[in-house]
Amino acid sequence: MNILAFILFLIIVGLTLVITYFASRRTKTTADFYTADSSLTGWQNGWAIAGDYMSAASFLGIAGMVALSGFDGFFYSIGFLVAYLVVLYIVAEPLRNLGKYTLADMIAARFNEKKVRGVAALNTISISTFYMIAQLVGAGALIKLLLGIDYLYSVIIVGILMTVYVVFGGMTATSWVQIVKAVLLMAGTFIISIIVLAKFDFSVIEMFRQMKTATPLGGDFLNPGNKFKDPLDTLSLNLALVLGTAGLPHILIRFFTVKDAITARKSVVYATWIIGIFYIMTIFLGFGAAAFVGYDKIIAANAAGNMAAPLLAEAIGGDFLFAFVSAVAFATILAVVAGLVLSAASAFAHDFYGHIIRKGQATDKEQVVAARWASIGVSILSIILALFAQNMNVAFLVSLAFAVAASANLPIIVFTVFWKRFNTTGAVTGMLVGLVSSLLLVFLSPNVWSPVEGAAIFVGEPLFPLANPGIISIPIGFIAAIAGTLLSSKKADAKKFDEILVTANTGMKDPI
């Protein structure tokens, strides 16, 4: 065990628990619990969005992919960033104006029916759970590598911490853990990038020149096509990346933590700057690892390349930087899983318990209690699932989360705000078909089926050729929403749409 890394882990855990302690004293009402009483500033929420978004998959995964496959890894960086234009232009402001605590609130603002809310909550829970299992499995593997603690204990430690943050500190603790993590992650990445650049005499041109000979791929390292060979699959991945973010519930609930649409807009803009600068730096992480750690050593530590960034830190900065970067990676996981627990728990407690079971009659205190129990339930469930998923290739869980988000949530968000004729039938059909089609396509994909034993979950020929279902399932989600609307004999409520139009665009909820 690396003692220095262990001490830094403890410092980070201590810091987050202090945050949770102070947050818990301010978490009394449902508004405190779900949205930190909408008290965050644009800057704070911008950093928190960045902290929620830059997961271990981004930090460790993209660095590894760039190190191993060169240009192709960078596709993720681009897609993850450009996605924020969809959030900024189309989703953020109407969502803030229409919703209160959850994504389902926004859709229910127009279609106030239990089945609409129920299906929307189901989608939120599905997406958050897939995402969370992927994060927990990654966390277990990472802590095992860094500290030598067993997978079982690693997952349980992370699980307990995320439960404590959310149960006691609600959205306030979650937000501040995300802010602290984002600052640490940016600092760590910046330090590594500067050292890497210094090794190339602060010349990007020199860096590219040397990368031509630094890897086993030779000159091809700098060209696209090393990882993504099927054009259709590449386009499908890019589509899911750019449209998925705008449907991810744990990102969307962040817009309820600010007071109005103008602040929500500002926070997206700040987040876009932070996230963009971070993803530019993934090049230095990836190139640096390829040049100074080397292909063989990266592969030896982890076949998917997930250890590239910590190994690079060790190679160029010694033990301290290695320990620091490992601790940052740990903080990264904690912040993301806390956000996921909160989004799933709010769907359970606010949508299912508060609106469907108690029909909106539960007292504020009852709701807070329900939300806390829901958080504990969600955490226990995902810890158990993560223990079973230990040896699974988790890439498909992340692709699933993005595909479901883009296929099931995005069409409904867009049509709720912009389409006058859209009706209940269309909303429910769109959400269910989007969910089922993306689940089914991923289940039939090469992520789950492979003729080579051990390469996927089952041995056999995949029935669906693409690893990323987005290019099929996203259009299916939109078409189902349109078809459901047009085939239903019900007319849309035009007056309700006027109300939605006014509220979405101005934030006015009760005229006069």
Partner: protein, 165 residues
């Protein structure tokens, strides 16, 4: 608004027979959703669909509904609101199409051709230049939107003022 919904709910309950007649047609339309509808039981019928159906059959319900949403309709039809919608549409639609086209041009070019593999300068190929351009594009569009949105905000302020008289 909440009060009116409750009023409507009461009305709905008195018209339960009417509702169950509608329920049949609603269920037959959405056979896929029967299971879900049942979880929510009949109470749910009252709002969206039951409400409108009922309104067309019940003059009292119709009147209450009109007075509830007349204000919103008036705002939507106002000149300032239409100007806001037009301004937003004229900005968001073309620029969204632009960034989607700009974004997908990169993977389409790298997947179906090798044109971007030619060198721009040093060892840096056009693929990398285009990749960096995506970042510049995103930031530029963020700045442009922020500036444009300031004019939207002024219009919103005007609309809110007008609505509140």
């Amino acid at each position: 608004m909440v009060l009116l919904v409750r009023k409507k709910k009461k009305l709905c309950r008195t018209k339960k027979t009417l509702i169950s007649a509608f329920k049949f047609t609603i269920y037959s339309e959405k056979y896929i959703l029967i299971l879900l509808s049942e979880i929510g039981n009949e109470n749910q019928i009252n709002n969206d669909e039951g409400g409108t159906n009922l309104a067309s059959n019940d003059s009292i319900a119709k009147e209450t509904e009109v007075s509830a949403s007349a204000d919103y309709t008036k705002i939507v039809q106002s000149q300032s609101f239409q100007e806001l919608l037009r301004k937003k549409r004229n900005f968001i639609v073309p620029l969204s199409i632009f960034f989607m086209v700009f974004y997908f041009t990169l993977p389409i070019l790298t997947s179906y051709s090798k044109v971007l593999n030619s060198i721009a300068f040093g060892a840096i190929s056009w693929a990398w230049i285009f990749a960096f351009a995506q970042f510049i594009m995103t930031w530029t569009l963020c700045i442009l939107y922020s500036r444009k949105a300031a004019t939207f905000d002024q219009l919103v302020e005007k609309i809110v003022k007008e609505a509140k008289g």
